[in-house]
């Protein structure tokens, strides 16, 4: 009886944490999906998330409005997206190189701006954070209720965004055109589509989503800004896109798996076990490596991913 109780408590705690931790990863991954579907590998989302986190924290902290914080994060993403779009699409620089260097730049910028905002003012910062919004009735369902329906509003919104992303990509002409641009830009061009515009759109969407994901980290998980608040979660979002084979719903599942691994490691620190936590933490990366190794066939990668397009 006691064992059963403990097990249920463990499972509920673990799975609820899974959903909570998967949220920002999924949000960033959903945006990245649009960029990659348009043919741009945006490695820069790691840095964009950090900038989004900073601006979101600053906006929320100085205005006192959490939603303005979220908006601030997205605005930061949009600005970064304009720059990255220019580098990727117009200047046609190597997407990998630009993304990686942008991440370093963003790390410096965030740290600099944070210092500037705090201005040396001693401040035990007050935490700015969304509180849990249990959904009436549904949250009372035994076992499932606490796992799925007792979260911050951002969790529910992310779920809606995932469904929306699926709809836009799969069921609208914008989605069809965007995917065509990433698969075969020449064919898209011949069909009269503006390849450049769609690629910019993909980059901007990914950067706004990354900004929102950064805001999410601050406003729903940490409550404060730290330079280490993102630390690799943008790269994990890249892995989720690949692992989810460029599909929003499969990406959601992938995000939950990554979230589960993360949550398990957190939960297992309470329970002692013989497995080193690092192994659990490394699992998602190892699985991604295997998925990308070429050993299990080429996945559904957009055919023109990372290939700049020009008519000549």
């Amino acid at each position: 009886m006691d064992v059963d109780f403990a097990l249920t408590a463990f499972l509920t705690g673990w799975l609820a944490a899974t959903v909570r931790l998967a949220g920002p990863l999924l949000l960033a991954a959903l945006g990245e999906l649009f960029a990659e579907r348009a043919g741009v590998l945006n490695i820069g989302i790691e840095g964009v998330m950090l900038l989004g986190a900073l601006v979101a924290w600053w906006a929320a902290w100085s205005t006192g409005s959490l939603w303005l914080g979220m908006l601030g994060g997205m605005a930061a993403g949009l600005t970064a997206g304009g720059f990255l779009g220019f580098m990727y699409v117009t200047a046609q620089a190597s997407q990998v190189v630009v993304g990686v260097i942008f991440n370093i730049f963003a790390l410096g910028l965030a740290s600099y701006a944070y210092r500037l905002i705090l201005g040396g003012a001693s401040g035990a910062q007050t935490a700015v954070m969304f509180s849990v919004l249990p959904i009436p009735l549904l949250s009372e369902i035994p076992f499932l209720g606490p796992i799925l329906f007792r979260h911050t509003p951002l969790v529910y919104l992310t779920a809606l965004v995932a469904a929306g992303a699926w709809f836009v990509l799969r069921r609208t002409s914008f989605g069809l055109n965007l995917r065509a641009v990433g698969e075969n830009p020449r064919a898209a061009d011949t069909a009269g589509l503006d390849v450049t515009a769609y690629r910019y759109a993909g980059v901007l969407i990914s950067c706004v989503a990354a900004g929102a994901a950064g805001a999410y980290l601050v406003l729903a998980q940490v409550g404060q800004f730290r330079e280490t608040v993102v630390s690799g979660q943008g790269f994990i979002a890249l892995a989720i896109v690949i692992f989810g084979r460029w599909d929003p719903l499969r990406a959601a599942i992938a995000a939950l798996i990554f979230g589960a691994a993360d949550a398990l490691q957190l939960t297992l620190q309470i329970f002692t076990s013989g497995v080193p936590p690092q192994l659990l933490l490394a699992l998602p990366y190892l699985v991604t490596i295997l998925a990308m190794s070429g050993l299990i066939g080429k996945a559904d990668q957009p055919e023109s991913l990372m290939v700049p397009y020009s008519r000549e």
Binding site: L176, R179, E183, A187, A188, A191, G192, L193
Partner: protein, 509 residues
């Protein structure tokens, strides 16, 4: 009857070439019209102009008798002109329906996309023209012939009245080709105008109502197929006086050097590119391999040099079996290669002439693993002196050389390796007259020196000028072989167009 489309006095100049020289061309609704000509005769240029891809320097285009203000492909499409390129413009991961509706304005960008209406319409079109396309099928799962019919559906869905197909059967199996021709006939019967750009005589005879023949940028004839013959068409296609300018001594060929036995090779697309091809290359002779581009010549050259794996047959250098040998092994055994794509295969543009001059021979320039760059540079300087390569700077980047000078680097490099057999592919493509003469002279000099040379060229003039023997390749097979002394253009033309060149006899001679 007013033709659906007529082009009057079209002139198009490219730097150094007059691609279309006052061309008149028209096509009626309800007919299949073939446009015939060799590589570079100007037929593709003409069609690109009609489709609005190129501007024209003079001339006008009329649709049903009314002048058409043609500035872009958009105008052409609006006027009911559609074109299917050799390379299909399809998104492989999309369904047929998705490909057909791609780019069409259909309500708001974020409104739910209606694919069922178009799918029904496509199914209806498919039924009406006997296209047999499943609207829901993904392109990547469809055979090439069906993919092509999706391209046709794209045009029909956009209400095209004129369909232009550029070498439509080049990528098809014989069975698919036959089915396509039937589809085209149905289209014509239902009132469409169809143009096929081709060089295959038997298809023209089988499917076209009329044929316009182009040569050197001009129309040399336009005839009803029912009133013509393969022989006449071949004569019109190649029937110029070939200027034999290269002075060639007569000398008997020596023993066999490179033998190809029943070689079978797949193309990049996984189709059969060579089907049991055999050749015998002898010492001190030039064997000219004639044929229209894309009939397996490149695959043959790659299979001979180890850049492509043969799925069957053998390649023998003397007694040695090279079928499984690596490119480096074949090179050291004495097979040299001058590839057609001198900028992307034969050289590295960012490296210097000297660094390119040793490519392939880099092992010979290494001492204790380090390259002897001084020797490389002096070798390059020697090449530049001997072959008059300009600018005469071994450190000059190869990518900035003119085509002729780069070709001399390629050729010089191959010759300097003192090969037993030399394979040269399209050696003078894109070169000016002076450079062509220099390359020809060099090839003849090699022949004098007793080398065995396989000259792969789509230029008949080149083949006739240089070869001792001529073989004609068509769809991966040798259609026939004849000594140069007995070569007659008409027969070669027939074989290049897929006819055996025997059955028509010598009636015209």
């Amino acid at each position: 009857m007013t033709p659906f489309l007529s082009a009057r006095g079209i002139v198009k100049r490219f730097p150094g070439v007059l691609a279309n020289d006052h061309v008149d061309f028209d096509v009626n609704a309800g007919e299949i019209h073939a446009l015939l000509g060799e590589n570079g005769a100007g037929k593709s240029t003409l069609m690109q102009i009609v489709y609005g891809l190129y501007g024209r320097d003079a001339g006008e285009i009329l649709i049903e008798g009314r002048p058409l203000d043609l500035r872009s492909t958009r105008d052409a499409i609006a006027a009911g002109i559609g074109m299917i390129h050799q390379e299909f413009m399809l998104v492989r991961r999309f369904s047929a329906t998705e490909n057909v509706v791609l780019g069409l304005k259909a309500g708001g960008a974020l409104k739910p996309l209606d694919l069922e209406g178009p799918a029904r319409e496509i199914a209806e079109l498919s039924r009406r023209y006997g296209l047999q396309v499943d609207p829901a099928a993904r392109i990547e799962h469809l055979p090439v012939g069906t993919q092509q019919r999706v391209e046709i559906l794209k045009l029909l869905y956009r209400k095209a009245k004129l369909l232009i197909l550029d070498e439509p059967t080049a990528v098809l199996t014989p069975g698919e080709a036959e089915a396509l021709l039937k589809v085209l006939r149905t289209l014509a019967d239902q009132g469409h105008a169809v143009v096929i750009v081709t060089h295959k005589l038997h298809e023209i005879m089988a499917a076209a109502d009329r044929v316009t023949i182009m040569r050197d940028g001009r129309v040399v004839g336009s005839v009803k197929t029912a009133e013509s013959s393969e022989a006449e068409l071949a004569r019109l296609m190649v029937g110029r006086e070939v200027a034999l300018t290269a002075r060639r001594s007569t000398r008997p060929a020596g023993p066999s050097v490179l033998r190809v036995e029943g070689l079978t090779v797949m193309s990049d697309q996984g189709r059969s590119a060579l089907e049991g091809l055999s050749l015998d290359l002898r010492e001190g002779e030039i064997l000219g391999l004639a044929g229209v581009d894309g009939n397996g010549q490149s695959e043959l050259a790659q299979a001979l040099t180890g850049l492509r794996t043969a799925s069957g047959g053998r390649v023998l250098l003397g007694e040695r079996d090279l079928t499984r040998a690596s490119p480096a092994e074949r090179r050291s055994a004495g097979v040299a290669y001058v590839p057609a794509d001198r900028r992307h295969v034969g050289s590295v543009g960012a490296l210097s002439i000297a660094e390119n001059a040793i490519l392939g021979d880099q092992r010979a320039y290494a001492r204790f693993g380090l390259l002897d760059r001084k020797r490389g540079r002096s070798f390059a300087a020697g090449l530049m002196e001997r072959f008059d390569i300009r600018p005469r700077k071994p450190d000059y980047p190869a990518g900035k050389l003119s085509g002729g000078n780069l070709q001399k680097v390629q050729l010089g490099r191959a010759i300097a390796s003192d090969p037993r057999a030399l394979i040269v592919e399209q050696p003078t493509r894109g070169l000016d007259v002076g450079a062509i003469e220099a390359v020809w002279a060099e090839l003849l000099r090699l022949r004098e020196a007793g080398k065995a040379i396989l000259l792969i060229s789509a230029e008949l003039e080149e083949i006739l000028n240089l070869s001792d023997r001529i073989a004609v390749i068509y769809e991966g097979r040798i259609m026939g072989e004849l000594p140069a002394a007995q070569a007659d253009l008409r027969r070669i033309g027939l074989m290049m167009a897929g006819s055996h060149g025997e059955e028509d006899g010598h009636a015209d001679l």
